[in-house]
């Protein structure tokens, strides 16, 4: 797995050189997004989102919807802004002082960047799973119970136990850790740690889950388990997943968005994107010419 990602980076470094020359004339073409960015039953809507890091612009005029109970995959070469865009959806970018977001993002028609939107509450409703499994240096139980305790969701020990156990079950981890709930979460394997982090996120019952390359640090078997889990979670949640792996995008998502140099180039049904991309850049990317 490791060698594969190294290889990817290698080829990317090689091809970025070629694509650089193209970049100038391509920018003219991709002013607007090709495909179907919007859906009938949106959970979250992004409209004309620009993101700046200080002087540097990272995202250019991105508009798309996340529909109810669907998995949207965000793909593109690294540095294309897909992770940055994801982090705007629950205002994680607030923690970076030089980051500025303009445009509008709504959750159930509420502007999440409005004055009266509380980032704490927002992040409880829009949960996030990170690239590297990051369990707290606490026990497995305390990791999952963290959010419930933080937000005061349980009124007694029994309720808390209930939340912890159902979350672990939903994340498919309960059977593996049943006997060692009070051992440190950092003692689990990488894949288990990532499922622990997913359990920790769903323990707060979010409405949307954002996943930032959740399987990139895992071996193929752990990756397969996570992918299955994502598919199951779709029954109850809206999910946006950033991924480097096109196979993964094809396996788990219903719609796929292709980002290039901070712009949303093309978005559409996953099937269509992988079999019949409309944009030349998308085609180049999925056929492996760069990225």
């Amino acid at each position: 797995m490791k060698s594969e990602s190294e290889h990817q980076q290698q080829t990317q470094a090689d091809t970025s050189h070629q694509s650089e020359n193209k970049a100038a004339d391509i920018q003219q073409e991709v002013g607007a997004t090709i495909g179907q960015p919007f859906v009938k039953q949106p959970k979250m809507q992004a409209r004309h989102v620009d993101v700046f890091y200080g002087e540097k612009q990272a995202i250019y005029d991105v508009s798309l919807d996340l529909g109810k109970n669907e998995v949207v995959a965000l793909i593109g070469p690294s540095g294309c802004g897909k992770s940055t865009f994801l982090r705007c959806m629950n205002r994680m970018n607030d923690t970076i002082p030089i980051c500025r977001v303009s445009g509008m993002i709504t959750l159930d028609d509420e502007d999440i960047y409005a004055e009266d939107m509380d980032p704490v509450l927002l992040r409880a409703r829009v949960g996030m799973v990170f690239q590297k499994p990051n369990p707290f240096p606490k026990s497995i139980y305390d990791n999952v119970a963290y959010g419930a305790r933080l937000h005061g969701l349980a009124f007694n020990k029994a309720e808390l136990d209930e939340i912890v156990i159902t979350s672990l079950q939903k994340a498919g981890l309960f059977d593996e850790v049943r006997d060692r709930l009070h051992e440190p979460g950092t003692g689990l394997s990488g894949g288990q740690q990532q499922r622990l982090c997913i359990a920790r996120t769903i323990a707060v019952s979010p409405e949307v889950i954002l996943m930032d390359e959740p399987a990139s640090a895992l071996d193929p078997i752990a990756t397969a388990i996570i992918e299955e889990l994502i598919d199951e979670l779709r029954q109850n949640y809206t999910i946006a997943i950033v991924t480097h792996s096109m196979q993964q995008a094809a396996r788990v998502s219903q719609r796929t968005a292709y980002f290039h140099l901070g712009k949303l180039v093309e978005i559409g049904a996953t099937n269509q994107i992988f079999t019949n991309p409309l944009h030349e850049l998308t085609e180049n990317y999925i056929t492996g010419r760069f990225g």
Partner: protein, 462 residues
């Protein structure tokens, strides 16, 4: 010719050796087809000869200077009349000192005591002879080094390799100074402490609750001397250090948190150096501040609310010591908190934790080992701190936990016992070394544990 002149001579000889060595190498090379044939640049042959000239002579000189006094002493002792050499060890060292002074004064002729006069004359004779032998010996060693190394210069002599090897040995020697220092510390405090524990049992020292060394001023009072129960000193040290830590740990920790998590970068840029000034102020200044400003202030404050506060209260001393170690705690905590990986922060924020919840529930628990290590280092520093307590804490050994009373500390007693005129061998001075040993062991243990914890902590996140 005294040692300094000899040193100058050796230096001159080695410089000469450099010039000769260089020339010789060029000459040798000329016979074999030019400088290109030489293994090293000519200057390295110069260095080589220079080293061969100076180094052995220098080493010899150092050894001579270290061992000369001892050998001369024992030779003198052998020649002394029986009634003199039969004296007790203490008296003998006094007599020897006397003779030394007499010999150096150059007024031997004026001495009335014939025994002393002849002994001093013997001493002068021995010293003169020793100096002559030394000078001849060292000069010949230097010269022999020059000639021998010059004769060894060939085209293929690996002068650079030789010089670089010597340089490396010198570098190793320099890095051994750290170990020598530690050994020196251990030996010096250990030997004197062992002598102390011969006259005062270890258990009396460690568990005795009464400390009054003042009665044992003169050497002939050994045995009838004061009591050396160090418990009040340990207790006093702990009391003052505890007060200092109570002040420094929350303040230092909270300011580190504020600076690293909340403050804007411009505020941090000016606040951090400003706080660090506190660490750069010499402790004697804190001592002055504690004794003349804080202690009277606290005393007056106590009086207005009807409390009886000693003018050298542990509280005043502890507070000022606390101020001194604030930047210490702060910069150590800052380091460990910023070492917590960003992923940990992201996880907490991603769950919807507020900033303070992230800090209190995630960052601090994650950084706890590092913080504990920092606190241990701060404690070690508080325990070993000397000037503040010497100037602002008491001298009387009170066994009390009341911060409003005066207590004394280990370091205060070391300073008190060792400053002023005293016989080096009295139990009073030896007691200072025993206290020094306790201090060294305590701080050593704290440091080793703390450094170990901090190192393990860093490795965990690397």
């Amino acid at each position: 010719m005294d040692a300094t002149t000899l040193l100058v001579v050796i230096t001159t000889l080695s410089l000469l050796g450099y010039v000769l060595g260089r020339q010789r190498s060029i000459k040798v090379a000329a016979n074999h087809g030019g400088q290109r044939k030489l293994h090293s640049l000519p200057k390295y042959y110069g260095y080589m000869v220079s080293l061969w000239t100076g180094l052995p002579a220098l080493v010899l000189l150092v050894f001579w200077l270290i061992f000369e006094p001892g050998i001369i002493n024992s030779m003198l002792l052998a020649e002394l009349p029986a009634e003199m050499s039969a004296l007790s060890e203490n008296k003998l060292s006094l007599v020897m000192n006397d003779l030394q002074l007499l010999a150096e004064s150059g007024r031997i002729k004026a001495e009335t005591d014939p025994v002393k006069r002849s002994a001093a004359e013997t001493l002068v004779g021995l010293e003169n002879r020793s100096q002559l032998v030394r000078n001849i010996l060292i000069f010949s060693v230097a010269l022999a080094g020059t000639i021998w190394s010059l004769s060894r210069i060939r085209v293929h002599t690996r002068a650079r390799v030789f010089v670089e090897r010597i340089i490396r040995y010198l570098l190793i020697l320099c890095s051994l100074v750290a170990i020598l220092t530690t050994i020196g510390i251990v030996l010096s405090v250990l030997f004197e402490s062992l002598r102390f524990f011969k006259s005062v049992p270890l258990t009396d020292f460690m568990f005795g609750t009464k400390w009054s060394p003042q009665t044992a001023i003169r050497a002939d009072q050994i045995g009838s001397s004061g009591t050396f129960g160090a418990i009040p000193l340990f207790a006093g040290t702990l009391l003052i250090s505890a007060i200092a830590l109570i002040i420094a740990v929350p303040t230092g920790l909270m300011s580190a948190i504020y600076l690293s998590e909340y403050a804007s970068s411009s505020f941090r840029a000016f606040a951090k150096p400003l706080l660090e000034i506190l660490a750069g102020i010499p402790t004697v200044v804190y001592g002055f501040f504690a004794a003349l400003t804080v202690a009277p202030f606290i005393r007056n404050l106590g009086e207005t609310i009807g409390l009886d506060v000693a003018s050298e209260s542990a509280l005043a001393t502890g507070i000022v010591m606390g101020i001194m170690i604030i930047p210490f705690v702060s910069s150590l905590s800052d380091d460990v908190i910023s070492a917590v990986p960003k992923a940990m922060r992201d996880a907490a924020y991603g769950m919807g934790a507020t900033q303070s919840e992230t800090i209190r529930q995630v960052l601090i628990p994650a950084a706890l080992p590092g913080i504990v290590g920092g606190i241990l280092l701060a404690a070690s520093r508080a325990i070993g701190e000397t000037m503040i307590v010497v100037m602002a804490a008491g001298l009387a050994a009170n066994l009390t936990a009341n911060p409003l009373q005066a207590v004394t500390t280990v370091t205060v007693q070391i300073v008190t016992l060792l400053t002023g005129d005293q016989e080096f061998d009295s139990p009073k001075t030896l007691a200072a070394f025993a206290l020094g040993l306790m201090l060294f062991i305590t701080t050593l243990v704290l440091n080793v544990i703390a450094l170990h914890i901090v190192r393990k902590y860093r490795e965990q996140y690397e």
